[in-house]
Symmetry: C2
Subunit: 371 residues, 2 copies
Amino acid sequence: MSEQMGIQSLCFSNPPCLIAGSSVVGKKESEGPLGGKFDVEGEDDYFGCDNWEAAESALQKKAMEIVMGKAGVVPEDIRYLFAGDLLGQSVASSFGLQSFEIPMFGLYGACSTAGLALSLAAMTVAAGYADLAAAVTSSHFASAEKQFRFPLEYANQRPFSATWTVTGSGAFLLASQRKAEEMKKRAYREKVYAEEETELVSAKWTNQYNVKITGVTVGRIVDFGVRDSMNMGAAMAPAAKDVIETHLRDFNRTPEDYDKIITGDLGEIGQEILVHLLQEKDIDISGNHTDCGLEIFDGKKQGTGSGGSGCGCSAVTLSAHFLPMLFSGEMKRILFVPTGALLSKISFNEGQNVPGIAHAVVLEGCAADVS
Amino acid sequence: MSEQMGIQSLCFSNPPCLIAGSSVVGKKESEGPLGGKFDVEGEDDYFGCDNWEAAESALQKKAMEIVMGKAGVVPEDIRYLFAGDLLGQSVASSFGLQSFEIPMFGLYGACSTAGLALSLAAMTVAAGYADLAAAVTSSHFASAEKQFRFPLEYANQRPFSATWTVTGSGAFLLASQRKAEEMKKRAYREKVYAEEETELVSAKWTNQYNVKITGVTVGRIVDFGVRDSMNMGAAMAPAAKDVIETHLRDFNRTPEDYDKIITGDLGEIGQEILVHLLQEKDIDISGNHTDCGLEIFDGKKQGTGSGGSGCGCSAVTLSAHFLPMLFSGEMKRILFVPTGALLSKISFNEGQNVPGIAHAVVLEGCAADVS
């Protein structure tokens, strides 16, 4: 039986379960609309480190530790790890994750990396290559500004179209249905223990084995000729449009088949462009679209410009905000579409365009079945 | 049936066929021992571009065009593309491959990227997710020196332990057995046409459907505390040792089960360390080990220090040198182990170590069966 759907999608016959997510964020994120929902909210953005890059590595390490703790597993239980970040040569991931000694696939998809990592981890588990796999990604406001634009000390001004890189890391664990079933039984036996903690933890322990990644649509690079590194939303919106349009066609679905279509970090400007571009194709997502970059910050109050961005933006928003709604049954099916802008300081300085890429992941919750 | 072998390997029950490889290199590579074997050998290293990064993108584009030409396919035939390079934010791949509009998984594994891309492409095809997938990677001496050390204009001196980044790109096409069989039949029908060209082309056309990727061992990050960015061989050898040792244990094989065990770019110093580290574990690869970095340059004549390096090093050496030997039946089974050093200019300047990673890919040739 082929799992290939249409021209660039996959529909899994044995969909893996997304059994746990974690989120570690900085101070500004904790002050936004989602404050209080994250697993760890840092007091400052150094996380006990000497520099921003090491701080970003610390975020990833913490996110992995938490997600393993939630699922009650140790690194040896995880067969493969899919990870990446925004920094040159992905050093946040290399130094953040090496201590776990998990066989690792290093990725680069700019801010779409959460989609890339979840897609590949889902493909790997669905194929029977692993019973348990992890997907991790991160970004850090200060390391990203230094990497892509100007060090903070330069105190440059930012236009409204600029997005604000989220300081955060999200980690996810994907399990085969067999493994998830086994873990669900164990968790149920330990339920008494969980109930001594908060109600939220308890809910997570009982429902977390019922959310599946049922399909993916792998994105292509789309170049609309945008050259402004302070307007990433415009650079990425065409790629998001391309993958959402293809996804709906490949799966023969309409936007209404999803409770929400959730892009990664288009921000206010990118959202407007995306909705407009899809309307031109007679696809109306205006009623059920949202963007992680719009969820995580209150732009007017927090001065974050067009919205949040970075690999960490979509990862922590999925983990802290949307995944719990899938776990609880409040949402049944979402399309998660992290978006990335493909540029480097060098490509920008050499006058190249900023093409975009986006990957779409279908997450579906099922009714909890713990007896 | 599980395809999981041991703790971190996969053995494919439906191994994909590596049906074609291509290699595009610069001038220095064409003057080395493998000169004449590459598909394209550039006159200068700009490849018609204005800067080194664009030149590297041009290498990738050319490598893709050639490999598609060899297999007689167009971009639309290729379902997924796995690609990465050494530059920050993988810009060589983004700008080199976007015109093909193939759904793309962006990777970063430093110089191990050829192993990473071949592993994921093989996993994807073996799982039935694609009938045809491509794996592409590149490096460029000048863009890498600028990225990791000093721009060439600085004319810095290099110790003997330093390796020389290969200017080159290798692309590979992987097909499902069904697809390969279909293509073989078509190629046979077109054989008369092929024989009008050189004998080499003819041989490739008839044998290229019989080489399979039968297994992979995904590597972990290994940190031996090396901090010298001018001695990459020493930084990567422990990771190569780790993955080779695990591979042999996972598959219950000995080094003699392989015609050659071929690391990516350890060079002379790294090779010595690798052989020694494995000897300590009672594994003797001294009789059948080689390194792409040692094959591609004549260090004494060409002043390339410890050997060649870069993502492109292992990719073009596999494509131009070893793959033809598998196609011809001269070699039956090789273990291809591209090696990567995980550092960036920033991590180096901040005093971090240089950990390594390596991924092992099993390639097996079968007797040609064209009737």
